[in-house]
């Protein structure tokens, strides 16, 4: 029977099992540290938000405000982005976790992610991310995946900020044969928008909108699952263009 054959092969494949590459107690220690760190980061973001709210209110009241549409951007956007070249990864290597100043960004985006999905994708409610936002360096990027409540669909938010100018080079789909470019245009603010459809067989169908801002911010809104998808290009574009999704 092929089932028995397969089970035998699986057991045989484990014959040269190496020792565990980690200490379970250290993992438990790290889990405790992460929990404490997340709590303190959220508290820090709350405090920062309060201070900035007061500062912005003071500017507006003194007549220095130029309208409220840019407040969110002013509060959250880094003024410059690193333009440094990243060394190429060794085979099997991963980029380093976190980047300088990533903790408050992660905490802020953790809070904003589900709220902005609900705001821009009508009828789509997501569960809290199981991992939370994960930040990697080189290039600095932050992202996570949310499961849509009551559906097999998932929403992924992914942000890269590697340069301080339009960064079309950080298009992760351009050379991936599994993704078909379904459209490309320019937003009123000059940002370039690319829409991709996943046409591979490994994953579920997907629609991705990638926004390349003139400030170098690359923002992806990725919706995946069995068809029909619960949102279209316009909704994903609105999500990717939200001024809160940046760092």
């Amino acid at each position: 029977m092929i089932e028995n054959h397969l089970a035998d092969r699986m057991r045989a494949a484990l014959a040269d099992e190496p020792p565990l590459g980690f200490d379970p107690d250290e993992v438990a220690d790290r889990a405790n540290q992460l929990r404490r760190h997340r709590r303190s980061s959220l508290a820090a973001v709350g405090a920062t938000g309060a201070v900035l709210t007061i500062a912005v209110t003071a500017v507006v009241m003194s007549g220095g405000g130029g309208g409220d549409s840019e407040v969110g951007t002013q509060v959250t956007t880094a003024t410059t982005a690193p333009d440094a070249a990243c060394p190429s990864l060794p085979p099997g290597g991963r980029p380093p976790l976190n980047f300088p100043g990533s903790a408050p960004i992660v905490a802020r985006l953790d809070e904003a992610g589900p709220r902005l999905i609900v705001k821009h994708l009508p009828g789509v409610h997501v569960q809290p991310s199981e991992t939370g936002m994960i930040a990697y360096d080189c290039p600095p990027n932050v992202g996570t995946l949310y499961r849509v409540t009551g559906s097999d669909q998932t929403v992924m938010l992914y942000l890269i900020h590697a340069r301080a100018a339009l960064d079309l080079a950080n298009d992760r789909y351009a050379e991936d044969q599994s993704y078909r470019l379904a459209g490309e245009d320019t937003a009123t603010d000059g940002a370039r928008i690319r829409t991709y459809e996943y046409s591979g067989t490994e994953f579920s169908p997907a629609l991705v909108v990638v926004r390349f801002g003139l400030d170098g911010m690359v923002t992806e809104a990725y919706l995946s699952g069995q068809m029909p998808l619960m949102a279209g290009r316009a909704e994903l574009l609105a999500l990717a263009s939200d001024p809160e999704l940046r760092f």
């Binding site: 092929i2 089932e3 565990l20 438990a28 995946l145």
Partner: protein, 178 residues
């Protein structure tokens, strides 16, 4: 987390890290990535531990997290930089002769060749059913799908493997005859 819960979690982690990693290895074909997947799984499990342990189902919950972590991992942007060959022995088996080692490596390469050709959920269904010996309903719970889906994923996965083995057998026979 209460001290007693923390102690219980640590005991669980010590006892189940290795079995979880074996399943992870069969899913991803790379011991290093399997280590990463299990660490991520344990960290996520830690966050839910008081709730999970009260329901007396930490093993099935851990398995579910592991599967989701692996499926999610495959979507992540840095995935393409990793290798998933599973063919390089991590520990030299000096007791076995070169021929035995070669044969083991060849069989392992064949297994991962077959598994990696399957869509991830079919592969997961096969690992759950035939390595972990889970029932259809237990596999459905771990995969978060219906029992019918597990049955169809398993049947398709087995059919694909059978076809590949048949093809390999024909090739081998042709080589011997020539």
């Amino acid at each position: 987390m209460r001290r007693s819960d923390e102690d219980e979690f640590r005991e669980f982690a010590r006892g189940h890290a290795a079995p979880l990693r074996r399943s992870a290895f069969l899913l991803c074909g790379d011991w290093h990535l399997a280590d990463d997947l299990v660490q991520t799984t344990l960290i996520k499990l830690h966050g839910a531990w008081p709730r999970v342990v009260r329901r007396h189902q930490p093993v099935s919950y851990a398995r579910k997290i592991l599967l989701r972590t692996w499926l999610d991992e495959r979507r992540r942007p840095w995935r393409r930089a990793e290798r998933h060959d599973g063919t390089v022995p991590e520990v030299a088996d000096w007791a076995a002769g070169p021929a035995t080692r070669q044969e083991e490596a060849s069989l392992r390469a064949e297994l991962f060749g077959m598994l990696s050709a399957l869509p991830p959920r079919q592969r997961a269904a096969l690992v759950l059913r035939y390595f972990e010996s889970l029932s259809v309903s237990e596999a459905a719970a771990a995969l978060g799908c219906s029992e019918g889906t597990v049955k169809s994923q398993t049947a398709r996965g087995l059919a694909a493997i059978r076809a590949r083995l048949d093809q390999a057998g024909k090739t081998e026979l042709t080589r011997e005859l020539s």
